[in-house]
Symmetry: C2
């Protein structure tokens, strides 16, 4: 059983050795470990070098860790990306944690996205969604299957009932357009002295929502045969669409922000690693992709 | 000049003769009249019979008026729909006003949508948007052109700053998926005794937002040459997409609600008139549409 627990201990030990303790990070560690144990042999071993798995800026005020595990042959997973960041800034500190699983073209079932952006002990942004891979206005059946039939609007409703919660809107209109209609995009603000309250919310409603949505994703979205029926044209459209979503997301989210938090060479190294994963052409697709 | 003012006076007289006075209705009348005078010869005369232009339920507690004007040959407008409803309900009254302009396939520029749902003097839902006709996650340029470049996020921000405003979410996940990232989807609640405050908000921020968004639509979206470049395949995709959006919107919005507010024969007559407009096959498209 020690062997089975090794990856979890490995991540726990690594992340704890780099970052100060933080409640949302504990929750993300729990979810990452759940993801990994449920996906099991769907994932290949980590593909990133040590200087990506742990990096920092020269002045030692910003720390980061990125890991990417590609999907194994036959899996519907394209790759699992986890990113852990801690940055000291003049006003305090910012901690950003991302768990992202992109699927490949063997299914049109949604990607999984979880992101925490925490600025201090009383302010947390949560972006949690099953990212759709179809044009939803054109595909009502896709909505029925993955969002209506799975009841993922319920955790969103529960969170938005809390008086400390307001909707979060990305400044990027493009990023606003990638989410599903049940996406949890919220800013939680507990005000001065509200650190205890934030703890309760993270351990309670936030943890429940994250586990609920991840559970739906693991049960209903992973694996071939999870998707809706697609003709070849639809599959090709989805592949091109996925490509735009991935590259725009990186451009807007990371390329704009990492260089402000880390030295350019560190930021570029990390971004290049993510771009490599997103741009990866699977051998079966080479011929097709020549025409894109 | 009497002749020029005739359509405006006609609508004003007709609506005022049917419905009790209401501030959001006055604003909608002003906007409808602006729309009509700016579109001018883009619109053919009204296409609906008198028993659609004015209808009511048997017990005389619900009144309605629907008008549809098709776009003239050469115009980018498919049709302008205006719908005015007043229903007495056990808790008071509900007033629903809709101004909707669907465009045809000569452009991919957005449709225009304005809807007010008012339940009493202190509660108003506003749905105001330039409805996209492309899969936005796949078309960042479309977002840049119609939403970023036109600054339509500003009126949304202004409205959402008001303490009386909370986001409105349609119970239908499908309807949530049709909007643009700058859509104004808000519920304004002024609480008991807040009728004066609601008046100020309608005359102020709501009127400004509606005029701003309608202005952008009239300036940037009407007319051939307003859209982004489309190949034939993209145009065909857009036509099929538009058809799904229209038919699902009617099914969810009207077919579910009108029969509760009016007698079935009245509701069916009105729905049939709208379905006719949505399903209309333009002669140039007959051949293509056989394959859909």
């Amino acid at each position: 059983s020690n062997a089975l627990r090794a990856p979890r201990m490995d991540r726990h030990a690594r992340i704890s050795s780099i970052f100060p303790p933080l409640l949302h990070r504990d929750l993300a560690l729990e979810l990452a470990s759940l993801l990994e144990s449920r996906l099991g042999s769907d994932l290949l071993p980590s593909s990133v070098p040590d200087n990506i798995k742990s990096f920092q800026n020269q002045s030692g005020t910003s720390f980061g860790s990125l890991d990417i595990r590609y999907g194994a042959p036959g899996s519907s997973v394209d790759f699992l990306l986890e990113s852990w960041l801690h940055c000291e800034v003049p006003t305090g500190s910012i901690d950003i944690t991302t768990l992202l699983v992109y699927q490949n073209d063997s299914t049109d079932a949604p990607h999984f996205n979880l992101e925490f952006i925490q600025a201090g002990p009383t302010s947390l942004v949560l972006l949690l969604d099953l990212i759709p891979r179809r044009d939803l206005s054109f595909c009502p059946d896709y909505i029925d299957k993955f969002y209506q039939g799975t009841n993922v609007d319920k955790p969103r409703q529960d969170l938005e009932k809390l008086p400390q919660v307001v909707p979060y809107r990305s400044p990027s209109l493009y990023i606003r357009s990638i989410w599903s209609p049940t996406a949890i995009l919220v800013s939680i603000n507990c005000g001065e002295g509200g650190a205890m309250q934030m703890e309760e919310i993270i351990k309670g409603t936030v943890a429940s929502a994250a586990k609920e949505v991840l559970g739906v994703w693991l049960e209903r979205c992973v694996g071939t045969g999870t998707g809706t029926e697609m003709g070849e044209e639809e599959r090709e459209y989805m592949i091109r669409r996925d490509r735009v979503v991935k590259s725009k997301s990186i451009e807007i989210d990371l390329s704009a922000n990492l260089p402000r938090l880390f030295d350019p060479d560190v930021a570029n190294r990390v971004i290049a690693e993510i771009q490599k994963a997103c741009a990866r052409i699977k051998s079966s697709m080479i011929l097709f992709n020549l025409f894109l």
